[in-house]
């Protein structure tokens, strides 16, 4: 068995201000395998976003460790973290967070051109290909402000994949979309995950989407729990608090390693 992509061990985060110490993560431990699509569930304030920020190297933990691709990330300096983030981690946020003064193509290209300090033909071609892949070939030169909410989120997905990251962290990626657009965005991420073998970790409150992921992690009270209480999942009949979430049959057809050359069945170009 190959080594996990990400190993999180005893991760703690305590926010300290002048008056209070607020422990948010109290020793989170889990691992992500390469090419997995994992949903992270938990009630608001359980520490999901903080965990994603730490895993995305945007925030340092108070203690604990996490290794990705064999590197202990807590030991890296700021510039090294920035470079690692650029190369290996993609972000998708609840709100698309596109740069409004740039076109869809430039937004997708930004992580690549910003690292090299210049635009390259290869970079533009890949950005264009990604936009084509997310169904926005016709609108690649539109300013971000001229796109609809669903289109913006698709551009954000393409941007997250620009530098071929090993891990995509998605914080409520469908939380700002209507059902139809949410389903489309999720389907797109699932397809890309299958095609490229990119690992996805999705923080979500949408249990229907979570159910379609290969695996779920529950965060409650700052720790990972095996069986969440009803408070963690709410009272929706879709998922019982005491029953484990089940896979949707046929939803995930393959988990592809990043190093494989799997292509889509319909002959689309490879993303990885």
């Amino acid at each position: 068995m190959t080594a996990p992509l990400l190993e999180v061990d005893g991760l703690r985060k305590v926010f300290v201000d002048e008056e209070f110490e607020t422990p948010v993560l109290k020793g989170v431990t889990f691992a992500l395998q390469r090419g997995e699509m994992v949903a992270m569930l938990g009630p608001s304030g359980s520490g999901k976003s903080t965990l994603l920020s730490i895993l995305g190297t945007l925030m340092r933990p108070t203690s604990g460790s996490f290794r990705m691709l064999g590197r202990e990330l807590t030991a890296l300096r700021e510039a090294e973290l920035s470079d690692f983030r650029n190369q290996q981690i993609g972000f998708i946020f609840q709100y698309h967070h596109l740069l409004p003064d740039f076109s869809a193509l430039e937004n997708v290209l930004f992580p690549h051109a910003g690292r090299l300090w210049r635009e390259t033909r290869a970079g533009r071609e890949r950005a264009a290909m990604l936009l084509e892949r997310v169904g926005l070939a016709e609108r690649m030169h539109y300013r971000a402000t001229r796109l609809s909410g669903g289109q913006k989120q698709r551009v954000a997905i393409a941007r997250a994949l620009m530098n071929q990251p090993a891990l995509v962290l998605a914080d409520e990626p469908t939380g700002n979309l209507d059902r139809e657009n949410a389903d489309q965005a999720f389907a797109l991420m699932t397809e890309i995950q299958r095609e490229t073998g990119t690992t996805f970790l999705l923080s979500t409150h949408d249990r229907e989407l979570a159910e379609r992921c290969e695996r779920r992690i529950y965060i409650q009270g700052g720790v990972v729990v095996d069986a969440p209480t009803s408070a963690a999942l709410g009272t929706s009949p879709a998922i019982s608090a005491r029953q484990p979430l089940r896979m949707v049959p046929g939803e995930v057809v393959a988990v592809v390693d990043r190093t494989s050359n799997t292509t889509r069945d319909d002959g689309d170009r490879r993303l990885a």
């Binding site: 510039a79 983030r85 650029n86 003064d101 941007r159």
Partner: protein, 402 residues
């Protein structure tokens, strides 16, 4: 194109009104800077021209001989009171060798070999003191434009001719073509014919100075070989000190530059220069404050975007560069526009002055545009440093959640 430059340009173009106001602000400050320079420097040139235009830039005079000191007997203490030696007449005897040195000097536009002395001019019962300046006729206008200042008669200096100021002529009640009787301080007497009257506009000159032929002066002042003074005119008046030092070192004579003979003018020019510098400093401070505050606002407004950039691994250096480039672009564009406006404003005022007959001492060519361009651009970049550093240090998590 560099990608940081593309981002900086896009940010400037995305808020055109703010960018235009910023560039306009820098342009106005640079306009003030360059116009102030054109005015202060133009005024200085005007004053210098008034003072130095009609006089020598470098004057060579005989060395002041040191008094001889009697050797004191061994073991005795010696107290010396020094006094200028007056036992010999001061003159430049070997002036031909000095002439050869002068011929090798670059930037010398005119030389006059003179014998100066004092005397009395008498007409009827009227006797007035005069300074006689003996010059070679061919070099009459080498230093002062006497030929252009002649208001009556002609600028000719034969052996028996004299050119006097119009005021002296009025004081003596004399006209061109009439004779005057002159007695030199060496007791020599001569009757000369007034060949021309000049008016320099300086009363002290027009009432006291009389030009005679150099050979006439030799006779009147008993100097068959030597000179009392050599005057030089230079292409670059500010090179006068260097030229004076060089000549003093090589000839051993007493050589003085015009600025050392006109201490009051120098002090006045220095005062003007200082006040001009203060105005320039305030214009630079205006640029720094304006650019820094506007870019700080921009930084604040773009915090979420900077947070997003940082989240996908864009380095702090890249963010820093984007904001520094914005400062540099504002500075360069603003100062180019300001230089153009400053030149135009100075030119229009100078032209308006000429056409109205009341010429303003503004010289558009002295606007120090290169200095303004460099300083304004540097001030803008310096002003951008603080906002740029603050932008590069934005916490991405905090910024994204804004």
């Amino acid at each position: 194109m560099r990608f940081d430059l593309k981002v900086a340009l896009r940010y400037l173009l995305s808020n055109r009104l703010q960018s235009a106001l910023l560039i306009g602000g820098v342009a106005i400050a640079v306009t003030v800077f360059t116009f102030n320079a054109a005015l202060i420097n133009g005024l200085a040139e005007f004053q210098i021209d008034r003072v130095v235009g009609s006089s020598a830039h470098v004057v060579i005079e005989p060395a002041k001989p040191a008094p001889r000191i009697v050797t004191a007997p061994a073991g005795t203490e010696r107290l010396v009171v020094s006094q200028r030696a007056l036992e010999r007449r001061e003159q430049i005897k070997q002036w031909r060798s000095v002439e050869r040195i002068i011929d090798t000097l670059p930037g010398v536009t005119g030389v006059s070999y003179n014998i100066n002395g004092t005397g009395l001019v008498t007409r009827g019962q009227q006797t007035l003191p005069v300074t006689l300046k003996g010059v070679e006729p061919s070099r009459l206008a080498a230093i002062a434009p006497i030929d252009r200042n002649i208001v009556e008669g002609e600028p000719r200096l034969g052996l028996n001719d004299v050119l006097i100021g119009r005021k002296l002529a009025n004081d003596l009640g004399i006209k061109v073509g009439q004779p005057i009787f002159i007695t030199s301080n060496q007791g020599r007497e001569r009757t000369l014919t007034v060949r021309g009257l000049y008016a320099t506009g300086v009363d002290s000159l027009d009432a006291r100075l009389a030009y005679v032929n150099l050979d006439t002066a030799r006779v009147m002042f008993d100097l068959p070989e030597g000179l009392t003074e050599i005057e030089l005119k230079l292409a670059d008046i500010y090179a006068a000190r260097a030229v004076a030092k060089q000549l003093a070192d090589t000839t051993g004579l007493e050589v003085t530059a015009w600025m050392d003979k006109n201490q009051r003018l120098r002090e006045a020019l220095e005062g003007q220069g200082s006040s001009g510098s203060i105005i320039k400093m305030f214009t630079l401070i205006t640029i720094v404050v304006g650019v820094a505050s506007a870019l700080l606002l921009t930084t604040f407004r773009r915090r979420p975007e900077i947070g997003i950039m940082r989240s996908f691994g864009i380095s702090q250096r890249f963010v820093l560069s984007v904001f520094m480039l914005q400062g540099a672009l504002i500075g360069i564009l603003g100062s180019l526009a300001g230089c153009f406006m400053g030149w135009g404003f100075s030119y229009l005022l100078a032209q308006a002055g000429k056409s109205s007959g009341r010429a303003l001492p503004v010289d558009p060519s002295l606007g120090q545009y290169d200095v303004a361009l460099l300083l304004a651009a540097a001030a803008s970049v310096a002003a951008a440093l603080w906002p740029a550093r603050s932008a590069s240090r934005i916490d991405p998590v905090e910024a994204i959640s804004q």
